[in-house]
Symmetry: C2
Subunit: 70 residues, 2 copies
Amino acid sequence: MTVTRVTNSIRALRFAHQEMTQADLATRLGVTRQTVIAIEQGRYSPTLEMAFQIARVFKVPLDAVFQYPD
Amino acid sequence: MTVTRVTNSIRALRFAHQEMTQADLATRLGVTRQTVIAIEQGRYSPTLEMAFQIARVFKVPLDAVFQYPD
DNA sequence: CCTCGATGTCAAATTTACCTGACACGCCAT
DNA sequence: ATGGCGTGTCAGGTAAATTTGACATCGAGG
């Protein structure tokens, strides 16, 4: 359960997109609902491939979804 | 050994930065040399956190290092 | 020729991401 | 009340990323 330093704006992006539900996002990504919850909560950082897919769902660049502070 | 769709420009970026060696990059990232090799060869896609760290080493945005086709 | 540094490869182990299935909670409607 | 929906959590698993250690190749220099 690696606490990652990467933060994200998934929750805001979901609501900005027709209040897309976590389950909806999960099926669009081809992952489970629990995975979406864990990523959204920053409990671990997703693979780069999944990060790209999430950005693609919301039609924004990757760094509009994920931020790496410092 | 997941064949990832994500491509990268790590090798070119290493040579553009004082011909930085794979071992040098590995120690800067805090990972092993084998990990750098595998990522550079696209044998699996790194975690998002490591992708951000790699981009930071080369002082370029993430999408200058990694590309997701389609 | 010999060595060294950079690169690559393999097997086996550990860690982390992700899955399956179940259950609990708060909300809003009926 | 109660039933569905969105959200969150937990335990136990599989798969993939990463580590460790060893060995092999190739090019450049001494």
